[in-house]
């Protein structure tokens, strides 16, 4: 076996990940750690400047409650999120993020993030909760603040270290282990509390593009279920693992539609020019109080569009040319209209260039001038993401001060954002049932979780560390794929075809095929059933066994092996949760064809799950949905 060096790093708080939530945690905890004399360490599998979901940039901050303007209340926002998630939301978590998020956005501006301003100096809103930014360097700016904050507080950060497992002692999380993807080094981080913020999961389902465009997923392919696997390995209870997210985007390159829908007030139509939101409006009545809510929940908007596609009325188009015409017609004269058109053109292209450059290239390649012809939109493949209109993640404690006597027993256990595993905290895509946090809310949740973790360290932290035996066993397991490849590679003349191992991409293809065909991927129009899921789980069990035969030729491939093992856990959590929830609640995200209707009486509840790493068994449990707001729909 190749020689590996082991580096042990001791710290008080370990932040796993380097994206928006992790950077929020770094900035916030650096402030408090300095006062408390504590050490904070951050570990990123890439370079913090360009890691995580904001790596490419963003054209909007999608969560700004704007409380200070008096136009919106915290209650307005909580109502919006609850309706969008069809009633399945933790109001305490949503409200906690929302009451702090404006302070994060104001801080971003102090750090130099160009937020668009109107004539009066106020932020330009894209929609009610969104503000426009020139965000090409959004992540670079936030990363600079995070790295500097850590350095000033005597903390450290590690880049290109990929974490695979938590370190556990007596059910408590006391660190993490992983390896460098640059040199033969295993890293062991021993900590008094651990905050996981390693993103959502992409490439669990088969993408629509399977050739060179495989990597052109809407959410980044490097979001590889690191968070979900970490919390599942730790034995933490997970929530909303069935609540996948399927965004509608410009077809193929998955460019953002928010500016078109919200800022330019564009509509989408089918090929016959019909607005499916109107022609299919009757369908909304089937979906309880949520179908009647305004705005219509994201999954129901998807669903009305998909109904037209199923009727053969596609393609579906974003009517960019009509939106532009309407806006320029509203101008007082031709000169003003020309000026406005120029402005719109620049805004529309910036929307793509700041965050989905491929879409700009696709438009240029297909000679699209948005004022002349419409552009096709389509529902993407499913993703796992706790920060947008999905909800999957760990089940975490809410803050004490927001609970009511009715919720406290179910939603509070000592520290905000702590999972059911003592010492393990989660934020961003890693925590569930607190949707719509986006970049700013993820950053804010990282701040909340980080501060709570420091409180935990001060009150409960002790010097317990993982045993050498546990560490050695994990090292052996982590490095196994290198050994498997090395031992067997000379058996066949083609290293890709060998009966003794699977390469990580082959493993991923098999996972994606199972998920696509049995768990409601794009090839079944997001439909699945009990029988389909049970068959899929049977095939997944073989894949789980074959995971032990993954082979890695390099450190890069070793990372890919573990990314895919993480995806496998996310996949299984998803299938079991979709199976457990015997209803259809989020058509447009998925449909259980055998249980095609909403069942408020039995399923206005959280479906939580737990994995036992020793036995490989899953436990499913229903948890009550309890609202903080007394007149919320029940």
């Amino acid at each position: 076996m190749t020689e590996f060096k082991t580096v042990v790093v001791e710290t008080d708080l370990l932040i796993c990940g380097g994206g928006m939530a992790a950077c929020g945690a770094a900035v916030e905890t650096a402030h408090w750690a300095k006062k408390q004399g504590l050490k904070v360490t951050l570990v990123d599998k890439a370079a913090v400047d360009r890691s995580g979901a904001v790596a490419m940039g963003l054209s909007a901050i999608n969560l700004y409650v704007d409380l200070n303007s008096g136009n919106n209340s915290l209650r307005d926002y909580v109502d919006y999120v609850r309706n969008d998630l069809m009633g399945i939301t933790r109001e305490d978590l949503v409200a906690n993020i929302a009451r702090h998020v404006d302070s994060s956005v104001h801080m971003f501006e102090k750090w130099g993030l160009p937020i668009w301003k109107d004539d009066k100096g106020g932020y330009v809103h894209e929609g009610r909760w969104q503000v426009m930014i020139s965000g090409e360097s959004y992540k670079v700016i936030v990363a600079e603040a995070a790295k500097k904050a850590l350095a000033e507080a005597g903390g450290e950060y590690f880049e290109r270290v990929f974490l695979t497992h938590p370190l556990m002692v007596d059910g408590k999380c006391v660190g993490a282990i992983g390896f460098s993807n640059r040199e033969n080094t295993v890293y062991v981080f021993k900590a008094k509390a651990v905050l996981t913020a390693m993103g959502g999961a992409v490439h669990v389902f088969k993408p629509r593009s399977t050739g060179e465009g495989l990597g052109r997923s809407w959410y980044p392919p490097f979001n590889s279920a690191g968070s979900a696997a970490f919390t599942l390995y730790a034995g933490a209870e997970m929530t909303c693992q069935e609540v996948r997210f399927v965004p509608v985007r410009f077809k193929d390159a998955y460019g953002p539609v928010g500016a078109w829908f919200l800022l330019f007030k564009s509509i989408a139509t089918n090929a016959l020019g019909e607005d499916y939101m109107q022609t299919n409006a009757e369908e909304l009545k089937k979906w309880g109080p949520y179908g009647e809510a305004k705005p219509t929940p994201a999954n129901l908007r998807n669903w009305l569009m998909m109904l037209d596609i199923q009727k053969g009325k596609g393609p579906i188009y974003m009517r960019t040319e009509e939106a532009i015409k309407r806006i320029s017609q509203a101008m007082p004269d031709e000169k003003a209209a020309r000026k406005k058109l120029k402005e719109l053109e620049s805004e529309a292209w910036e929307d793509f260039l700041d965050m989905t450059i491929a879409q700009a290239l696709l438009w240029a390649s297909t000679n699209v001038e948005p004022d002349k012809k419409p552009s096709e939109i389509m529902a993407c493949e499913p993703y796992f993401i706790g920060s947008h209109s999905g909800a999957s993640g760990a089940w975490v404690s809410g803050p004490k001060d927001l609970q009511t006597s009715e919720t406290e027993g179910d939603y509070f256990w000592g520290y905000a954002n702590m999972t059911t595993v003592p010492g393990l905290f989660a934020a961003g895509d890693a925590s569930g049932a607190s949707s719509h946090k986006f970049s700013s809310g993820s950053f804010t949740e990282g701040r909340l979780a980080g501060k709570a973790a420091l409180q935990y360290i001060v009150e409960k932290g002790n010097g317990v560390t993982a045993s050498d035996a546990q560490v050695q066993a994990l090292i052996q397991e982590i490095l196994q794929p290198l050994d498997t490849f090395e031992k067997n590679k000379d058996y066949s003349t083609d290293p890709d075809i060998n009966p003794n191992y699977l390469r990580p991409k082959q493993f991923m293809s098999r996972l994606q095929k199972i998920m696509d065909e049995y768990a409601g991927g794009v090839s079944t129009q997001l439909a699945t059933s009990k029988a389909q899921l049970e068959k899929g789980l049977e095939l997944l069990a073989f894949l789980r066994e074959d995971a032990n035969k993954l082979g890695a030729e390099s450190l890069h491939e070793l990372m890919r092996c573990w990314e895919n093992r993480h995806r496998l856990l996310q996949a299984e959590a998803h299938m079991r949760s979709v199976l457990f929830r015997e209803e259809t609640r989020w058509p447009g995200y998925y449909v259980r064809t055998d249980k095609p209707a909403l069942d408020q009486e039995n399923w206005l509840a959280f479906c939580n799950s737990k994995y036992n790493q020793e036995t490989g068994e899953w436990t499913m449990v229903k948890r009550p949905v309890k609202y903080l707001t007394t007149d919320s729909p029940r």
């Binding site: 790596a55 200070n68 593009s209 990597g215 450059i357 001060v458 890069h556």
Partner: protein, 165 residues
């Protein structure tokens, strides 16, 4: 739309302390071939085409070619990123459509390396147990108002009779 490296322009960052594209790629794809001293994308189908390698390459040796499975050939998007703004050039497949040029700001008022992470707002409570975060409540306010928070915003438990806003 995977990134590719123009052989004649790449010098393997031999004058730098680290290979720029390899350092920045969020998906660990850009790799230096030490024999040739040239970089390459080792797994183009996993490329998100985030353009971070394109933007950071000191020799402008990296470009992006649209994904072969759905992007017709012939168009291009190129970026020139400075410390304050970014210039984009979009060339269409149809040469009769005038190429688009855009310049967008990337930072405003604070230079690269000049960010002060802390200290912009007064922190009201030094108590680790307080639900208030660093810089709060003052960071919740702007000069535009009209609402000024001296404590955390509260969640209305019941709706006002008119249903609120």
């Amino acid at each position: 739309m995977p990134s590719y490296v123009i052989a004649s322009k790449c010098d393997g960052c031999k004058a730098q302390d680290r290979t720029a594209c390899q350092y920045i790629c969020p998906n660990d794809l850009m790799t230096l071939d030490r024999q040739k001293m040239k970089a390459y994308n080792r797994d183009p189908v996993m490329c998100w085409e985030c353009f971070n390698c394109v933007k950071l390459c000191p020799n402008q040796a990296i470009e992006v070619r649209g994904y072969s499975d759905f992007v017709p050939m012939g168009a291009s998007v190129s970026a020139l990123r400075s410390t304050e703004d970014i210039m984009w050039t979009v060339q269409f497949r149809n040469p009769e459509i005038k190429p688009k040029r855009f310049k967008f700001p990337i930072r405003r008022g604070v230079g690269e390396g000049q960010i002060q992470p802390h200290g912009h707002y007064a922190t009201a409570s030094d108590d680790l147990k307080s639900p208030m975060l660093m810089g709060e409540p003052s960071a919740l306010n702007t000069e535009h108002g009209p609402v000024t928070f001296t404590a955390l915003p509260e969640l209305a438990r019941t709706r006002s009779p008119n249903g609120g806003k």
